[in-house]
């Protein structure tokens, strides 16, 4: 294992190199571009053998990846923001066709107003597209997700595309020291892609067909089961990953000091570190604070969140997203998890970081104050509570 000083984008590209994709379809968009630039260099210098396709749009990027996956090849693409929305049709297509493509999304705000900075409104708008959705916190996790992603997505019980999300700029462009696994280790961890869901010249197939009202729901149920199956496959894959690479991950969520916490902040992505630091400071002052970082939005960690929050007095959900006219999508999902588990505690939503706006330690302290003293149901950081009635 070697160490390198890499940005989140570069770390992810290193992970993809180790995963040996056979077809890469690339279209640039800020802040994703460095991923496709590095991959093109790896193909040029021969450290990665892949068909590198310069597509003319994000729609074609994913359409090409679907074609490659239908040919039985391991396919990769990357996008962000407007690009993710432009290819949205293909997201549902890839998932419905059960093509285990991996895509990196650099989480970025969506126009209008135009903004290139990070928030999570792009990927969270696609929760229903049928993809597994992971959210990395740091560059090391980004690399490790890249390597684990194919193993999870290609598992026969799962056979579902996988979107790895990195906070735009805050994670994609921030440099950290990253452990790079050895090629031999990576090959031992991730075998070549084998599937029956592919073009076969001995037994020709008609793929990506229509299914009417009499059968359509069966395909959709199976698609649902595929994403649900990822719950166990993610755990198994992380166990195997730890055995080979020595780094442990905690499944669909990551908990910090939640066991005895009275006030728990649930969040996702790169802001989690500052949340944990704030929790530490609050504990120095006698406030039992804890943090849950959601690692996977799909499959959603219903049981894990209920387990982590069940003894808390109040919880907050901090997210870089708003479903206009309601609340943040993560808050909705967390509330549903608690309702299904019969847990009835006060919960508050905090919308922050939109368009890349900084979320400060003071903001997070204020959020915890809101949990302790009560606040509005939905709060825009820097503006205040908004009536959700």
């Amino acid at each position: 294992m070697s160490k390198k000083f890499l940005s989140g984008n570069e770390a992810f590209a290193e992970g993809i190199r180790l995963a040996r994709p056979e077809v890469i379809s690339a279209y640039p968009i800020t802040p994703q571009t460095i991923v496709v630039e590095r991959l093109s260099e790896m193909v040029e210098d021969g450290s990665l053998t892949a068909e590198y396709v310069h597509v003319e749009s994000e729609h074609s990027a994913l359409s090409c990846a679907i074609g490659a996956s239908a040919a039985g090849a391991r396919a990769f693409t990357a996008t962000s923001s407007q690009g993710l929305l432009y290819m949205a049709e293909c997201l549902y297509y890839a998932a419905g066709g059960r093509f285990p493509i991996v895509m990196m999304n650099a989480d970025r705000s969506t126009a209008l107003p135009w903004n290139i900075y990070g928030d999570q409104r792009d990927s969270l708008s696609q929760l229903d597209s049928g993809w597994i959705q992971a959210y990395a916190e740091n560059a090391q996790e980004a690399l490790d997700l890249a390597l684990m992603s194919y193993k999870i997505a290609e598992n026969k019980a799962v056979s579902t595309p996988y979107m790895a999300n990195l906070d735009g700029f805050i994670l994609t462009h921030t440099y950290e020291t990253v452990d790079i696994p050895e090629r031999e280790q990576a090959d031992r961890f991730l075998p070549p892609y084998e599937t029956d869901n592919r073009i076969d010249f001995d037994n020709p197939k008609n793929m990506a067909f229509s299914a009417g009202p009499d059968t359509n729901y069966i395909f959709k149920f199976k698609e649902h089961q595929g994403v649900l199956a990822a719950r166990q496959v993610i755990r198994d894959t992380e166990k195997e990953f730890a055995e080979i690479f020595g780094r442990k991950y905690s499944g669909l969520i990551d908990t910090y000091l939640t066991d005895d916490a009275d006030y728990i902040l649930v969040t996702l992505g790169s802001i989690a570190g500052l949340c944990r630091e704030t929790a530490d400071k609050l504990r120095e002052n006698g406030v039992k604070a804890g943090v849950v970082r959601i690692r996977y939005m799909r499959p959603f960690p219903n049981e894990e969140i209920a387990e982590a929050l069940k003894n808390a007095r109040a919880y907050g959900v901090l997210e870089k997203d708003i479903s206009f006219g309601n609340e943040g999508a993560v808050f909705t999902n967390v509330n549903s998890a608690l309702k299904k588990a019969g847990i009835n505690i006060s919960g508050y939503n905090f919308i922050g970081g939109l368009g890349g706006r900084n979320i400060s330690a003071g903001d997070i302290q204020d959020i915890f104050s809101g949990l302790i003293n009560g606040t509005d149901s939905v709060n825009f950081i820097g503006i205040g509570g908004v009536n959700n009635g």
Partner: protein, 298 residues
């Protein structure tokens, strides 16, 4: 000639048991092309008539590997299929797309342009029935001037479609594509030979085949071939190729048959006035001036 060509293609059926309308020109083009390309053809078809009639689980009508693409994604999925199969070590296959006029000239033109730009090793066949037939005969970028569709009604004020067809053949050629051709199912041996020629050329190939739709054109179901001949004989369509930077005309009618006869046989043109017909005839003559100047004939 015709028999020799017929003998040269497979007796096997690759597109069989589908539920296309009687007299469908598009299904004939797909059927003939696959008989040339054989069992190692991998077909990509976007949402449209051919996928609607052939891909209804569990009634799946292609006996070669085939896949539906997104409407805009015929060419980009072809790219992926071709790259993927090559990455898996396959050599003996043909990635072929069959897209309609709307799927090609409107929603799919960006992806097609990208594929030609990359010179991906694919054959793209546009079966042109001159409107969005699958959704019920709406105007596309390849609907001819004057045609009545369900979105270009023929009334007192506007006589159907007010714009001419996009010139997809020359748009493809403008990319300096290795091979582009026009064809008509009325001249099937010519189409078959062009598909065969395309299959032997490396890089991107584009074939634009006129494929009448009796339902949308308002003709009897047994008139498909005749009308597809007549569109060529009247000079409103032409059989040509583009290769090595050169346009070639393959078929030169000694004299054109009547434009008015061609138009008046079809329900979609019944409303046209003498003035409309003159516009169409003048436009044909202008086109042929261009052909005479820029195409070689052999």
């Amino acid at each position: 000639m015709a028999n020799k060509v017929a003998d040269s293609i497979s007796r096997e059926e690759f597109f069989y048991g589908h539920k296309a309308c009687a007299g469908c020109g598009g299904s004939l083009a797909v059927r003939a092309a696959l008989k040339v390309l054989g069992k190692n053809a991998v077909s990509v078809l976007p949402a449209g008539c051919m996928s609607a009639v052939g891909f209804n689980f569990p009634q799946l009508c292609f006996s070669n590997n085939s896949i539906i693409s997104t409407f805009a994604g015929t060419a980009s999925m072809l790219t992926g299929v071709e790259a993927g199969l090559r990455a898996k070590g396959y050599k003996d296959f043909t990635a072929v797309g069959f897209a309609g006029d709307g799927g090609t000239a409107d929603i799919g033109i960006q992806a097609l342009s990208g594929a030609i730009d990359r010179n991906d090793n694919i054959i793209y066949i546009c079966y042109d029935n001159e409107a969005y037939m699958n959704t019920g005969i709406q105007k596309s970028g390849l609907t001819p001037f004057g045609a009545k569709t369900t979105t270009t009604p023929a009334g007192q004020n506007i006589h159907g479609n007010i714009r001419p067809k996009k010139n997809m053949f020359e748009i493809a050629a403008a990319h300096d594509i290795p091979y582009a051709a026009t064809a008509s199912v009325g001249y099937l041996p010519d189409f078959i030979e062009k598909v065969r020629k395309a299959s032997q050329i490396q890089g991107t190939k584009y074939i634009h085949v006129i494929a009448p739709c009796p339902t949308g054109w308002g003709i009897p179901v047994d008139e498909t071939i005749n009308i597809a001949k007549e569109v060529v004989d009247s000079g409103l369509w032409y059989l040509a190729e583009y290769e090595n930077g050169q346009f070639t005309l393959n078929h030169k009618p000694k004299s054109f048959t009547s434009v008015e006869d061609y138009l008046k046989k079809q329900g979609r043109f019944k409303h046209l006035t003498d003035e409309d017909i003159k516009i169409i005839t003048d436009s044909r003559d202008k086109k042929w001036d261009h052909i005479e100047k820029n195409f070689i004939y052999r």
